[in-house]
Amino acid sequence: MNEGQAIIEVRELRKIYRVGDVDVAALRGLDLDVLPAEFLSIVGPSGSGKSTLFHIIGGLAPPTSGRVRVADGDLATMTEAGRTRLRRRTVSFVFQKFNLLPNLTARDNIAVARHLAGLELKPDAQFEEVVRLLGIARRLDHKPNALSGGEQQRVAIARAIVNHPAILLADEPTGNLDTENSKAVLEVLRDLNERLGQTILMITHNPEAAAYGHRTVHMRDGRIVDGD
């Protein structure tokens, strides 16, 4: 793989959580490269460090050691403010639990992300297309508790991509969905990747879901144990 092209480049990444007097090593020297427009699936047993990897790539937590380059940012040296900026425009998350703001309508949930990125006033030609692609056009004025799980997750995806992030991190996006909704969400992700060239990293426990990616990597004990 040509390293110069990678949009994510991780070398010797370690993350140690201190719990009381005990050090818990969540990541133990992980290496990973992701190319632009790639759809990468990540699988591995519970506790193997998958979410931790996302938290670091997404700027929610600093690495303990190692080198992590995301787009043009070096996360090892990035300040908290720098990581906040990274989350605004460069990387965004889709979570297993949807994580929509419960008091806001779907439309406002999406608007919050645009506001935080400072893009509120800029008209977005792609917005309508994204909304149509996700099939949520008629659900936009509902609050999350009036939406099905599948709809909530699609709104969450809309919110995640509304600012055209370089990287979309989806942590078990279908973990709380039935088969039918899972399929719909996975197809949306594949569409986004194919039509818009969206780089996507997806954690999943489900081999069928993993098959939507171009490539699957396996994690165990804080490392990548094989790729294909």
Binding site: L101, N103, L104, V112, A117, E120
Partner: protein, 364 residues
Amino acid sequence: MTIKLVKENMKHRPMRSLLSALLIGVPVTLILCLVGLSHGMVDENNRRTQGIGADIIVRPTGSTMLSLSGGMDERVVGFLAKQPHVAMAMGVVNQAVEGITLGATGIDLDQFNRMSGGFNYLEGGPFRGADDVIVDQYYAEQKHLHVGSTVNILNRDWRVSGIIESGKLTRIALPLRILQERTSNLGKVSQIYLKLDNSSLTNDVVKDLKGLLKDYPIYSVADWTSLFNVNNIPGLQPFTVVIMVIGIVIGFLVVYLSMYMAVLQRTREIGILKSLGASNAFILGIILTEALMLGLGGTLLGIGMSYGAYWLIRTLVPASFPLVIVYSWWPIACGITLAGAGLGALYPGFSAARHDPIEALAYE
């Protein structure tokens, strides 16, 4: 967007928001009532003093602004009457009936009529007997009195001989001699009013009289009424300050507790916002904005409640508590409340801003 987030949050828990604002409003009402009462009392007193038609007021030696009773020898009245340019001198006896806001005055009705042009009777007329009392319309309203009613004042029953339009000297007028007797003040008066043959000489005459009666506080009516203002009432300012501090403390505590709870309940939402790239300042801004909205709502409710209090007092006890609405204190009360609310939101706000996003997202 901050406003929208805050608005939706507050709408989501309407009871919490309303209750917080209501609690914050209580001290606002207290402040406004206290201020309204002191202004009302001062305005009312000054209006009645001006209604006497006197030019000069002579008070007993050593008296303070608020002392009502007490005494000067009645012969001082005669002495003053003989001074140049003094057309008339009238001694009265003041007696507290209810605290500092309501007093009765013993007058010689003939003298008073000559000085002031007389009361304007709405019902009945002058004293006819030794146990007669003349009351103004507000006292009559408060005590449900009519001509011929009996009313207990200073532990005695009096018969109402007349009800007058408010605005001259006193709300409760009793015959001077009788009041002197009943209060063991025979031969004494508590205040002397002078009318001059030429009002434009007032200041000169005050100066002359001060030369003659060294220790007596002597004022022109104009000076007296301008001196008698809310800033000069002893004890009022510290009392107002105490109420203001209570207002800040209540605002602080209510907002602190309310926002502390809100931050706990919204931990996950804070994590979500952070995952979307919200800065610490943005999170702090949301909490502060909500606190200020609560403070503002509290101020508005407090003002509303002060109108309720105004209506209640005007209806039930218009004579004892001459409450007025003092608009100039609205922004002050608002400032006090916002200060308390802002301070109360600081700790919850900073702790929300410092939340670790991963922990916040894991919060159930």
